[in-house]
Symmetry: C2
Subunit: 431 residues, 2 copies
């Protein structure tokens, strides 16, 4: 069976997809019966179009010219962006074409219109590559665990952040040095904000949360904290106490059906399976009703891992097209009419790590502990480590599980005291 | 869409499947559009039939009565055994029914006839539950990594063995005590041979190797070693040197296309991701051409994890049936006409751990090292640890990578010496 492709975007992922289609061409044709024929390519860059021009009969710098072509069955949207690609996908659907995308920002922002539209148009919108790079988490949630309720999900879903935190931990680097190193190695962008502030993680976590609970989760309603405030002191303190600091996406559902979906750096026990996931690796840890706990770890980004997931979607689609009556996974639930109530982080109970920067005077602890007590926060441990910063002795409080609003209120009072020299560092535990 | 089921086997997995179908009935019907209707059940045990009789209009103790019924679309073969179920599956195919099985022994032994027969009959033979319990390794290999060559696979695929080795390690138990404990907890059978001698692992590894390389791998040609000879001394020595001992299935392909597929206990660096997979957990570690290294960890057995995979197969099948023109994954390669050449273990190069039990006399080491040298085996380290056994001081040699045949020949000579009091313990490293 012949399946005719149009590719929008000839950057890292696009060229990776072309490589894989070439490498496995004979296998796809002879063993699976699928011939993927490249009918058109589109790139903003004329240089890239020229470079790949020999591979396709049609080239254009205008995506809408490609999505309108009658000789294309499937559009691979591999260009990135948020608002522009929405129009391309809508055009593809209007022209009866299926779409495969690696674009989490697009889906997190416009999936609520695009998924229902795909369902209405009878077209596929596949996105395995949008979350976790080469890790097959989308099909695992959609297919493998179809007979499971998801009791919780925690994930390390941004390789840039995980690389930076790993380097800070293993080499005792300050954040800025680790970030610079990541940029030099190509693991972080020149403008790294999108990664290190947690936005990229939030896009992916919103998609995962939506799939876990069959509702549309808007990332704009999530609490999203990045890793920019993590200091080498925090990493060292956590290490000494037996914890790793990881940027986690954390998803669960409470008994009344409300969803918790947030992204923040968290201390987790070094014995937890996620704590050993280092470097640019991603990992998704799922607690399920039938299978129990399961962990998937692998490359969460990069040319070929991402391209591998795009091509896996293409083959799955081909297998459905071969039936002559293709049936997509039902994704119509991902719609603004079916939006999840998110539990505000203020209402969540977590254990806390609080690092105070206080003047070295008698009575400081008494003042701070008084406020914590008045706000109903129970202290599990108190550590002072002058060796980490002899001038501003860090004072660390570990709390028992307490409502986030309690801590917010307490810190508002504590940080206003004149004995406190800098805003208190607040980290949560993941258990 | 209504899909009519017949279940053979009402033991742990069968009753788990009934539980999950019940639990998710509304979701399958309302969200996916599938109604699974139980038309018949079959069990050797009249007591079990009686227990579940209210759930199905037809009950029988004869599987062939169920496979012949015209009102059944899909047979779930969840009874176990090897030769008897082959006849049931053949009968199901002859009657145009699809089959879902959790039975690795059946597939390892008779898959070479059953997979081609399914292809010829235009029926499905699905088996996600046969390997790794709730871990979605079959669909990961068949679908997610379809655009990858598999460069290697290592797995912990028998929970009984992993539990025993974990207990031996964490509590310094002798093998027999850990085995007894596993039996008391229901993690090991009363007759544990099938698990602890590696046979169960070999069945699963043969299936995985076949899927990795698109050829039929006969488990009878694999080298299969269990964990019965592992002593607490070996575990303690490995620990001290920074290694864990795990029963691994190890699969790879050499440049000439020949496949290596074996099961043996191996020392692996404690920092390897597989080394931290403890207790009854299973894990599959894949080295792939596009995605790189990936690890899947989870419950490899048990009622609901296994049932979860059976039901996931059922939903995948339903999705294909809903097209009216279902297309199975091509499994015709799994045939005796397409049998893989396995590289004999003698020809593999591995590093070795050799534990000699020698009399405590001068000159022993000279004699042993002479033989090792003559057989071309280069020694990486030598350790004597009298504290582990003051009477028979264990002498441990670690070797550089060397052909397995060299070690076999050397040990034949060494173990024949009168200074050697017991057969030398031979373990390999996994790197």
């Amino acid at each position: 069976m012949k399946i005719r492709l149009g590719i929008i975007g000839l950057g890292t992922v696009g060229s990776g997809v072309l490589d894989l289609l070439e490498q496995h061409k004979a296998f796809f044709r002879d063993s699976l019966g699928f011939e993927f024929e490249l009918m058109g390519i589109c790139s903003r860059s004329q240089a890239r179009l020229d470079r790949f021009a020999a591979k396709a009969p049609f080239t254009t710098r205008n995506p809408l010219e490609l999505t309108a072509r009658p000789d294309v069955d499937v559009i691979l949207e591999l260009a990135g962006g948020e608002d522009a690609p929405r129009a391309w996908v809508e055009s593809a659907f209007a022209n009866g074409k299926h779409v495969i995308t690696a674009n989490k920002a697009l889906l997190a922002k416009h999936g609520k219109e695009l998924f229902p539209l795909a369902e209405k148009s009878g077209t596929f919108l596949l996105f395995e590559a949008a979350v976790g790079g080469g890790i097959p988490i989308i099909r695992t949630l959609q297919e493998a665990f179809i007979a499971n309720d998801i009791n919780g999900l925690a994930c390390i879903i941004n390789g840039t952040c995980n690389y930076i935190l790993t380097e800070m931990t293993s080499k005792q680097l300050p954040f800025k040095t680790a970030l610079k190193q990541a940029q030099e190695l190509g693991y972080a962008e020149a403008d790294p904000a999108f990664d290190i502030e947690g936005t990229d993680s939030a896009h992916k976590v919103a998609l995962l949360a939506s799939l876990c609970y069959g509702k549309y989760v808007d990332f704009a309603n999530m609490t999203v904290e990045g890793i920019t405030t993590i200091s080498d002191v925090d990493i060292a303190m956590a290490e000494e106490m037996g914890f790793a600091i990881k940027l986690l996406g954390i998803v669960s559902q409470d008994r009344s059906g409300n969803i918790q979906a947030n992204v923040y750096p968290a201390l987790l026990d070094k014995k937890h399976q996620l704590a050993t996931v280092d470097g640019v690796l991603n990992a998704i840890y799922l607690k399920t009703s039938a299978v129990g706990a399961i962990l998937l770890t692998g490359a969460g980004a990069g040319k070929l891992p991402t391209a591998s997931s795009v091509v896996s979607d293409l083959v799955s689609l081909a297998r459905q097209l071969a039936t002559g009556n293709p049936k997509a996974q039902p994704m119509g639930f991902f719609s603004s009419r079916n939006q999840a109530e998110l539990v505000p982080i203020d209402e969540l109970e977590t254990e806390f790590y609080l690092r105070l920067t206080a003047v070295d005077k008698p009575g400081v602890l008494a003042k701070v502990t008084t406020v914590l007590g008045e706000e109903g926060i129970s202290i599990r441990a108190l550590v002072q480590k002058p060796e980490h910063d002899p001038e501003h002795v860090p004072v660390i409080f570990l709390t028992h599980a307490t409502k986030n609003s309690n801590v917010r209120k307490a810190l508002k009072r504590i940080d206003a005291m004149d004995i406190i020299q800098a805003p208190t560092q607040v980290l949560r535990f993941y258990r």
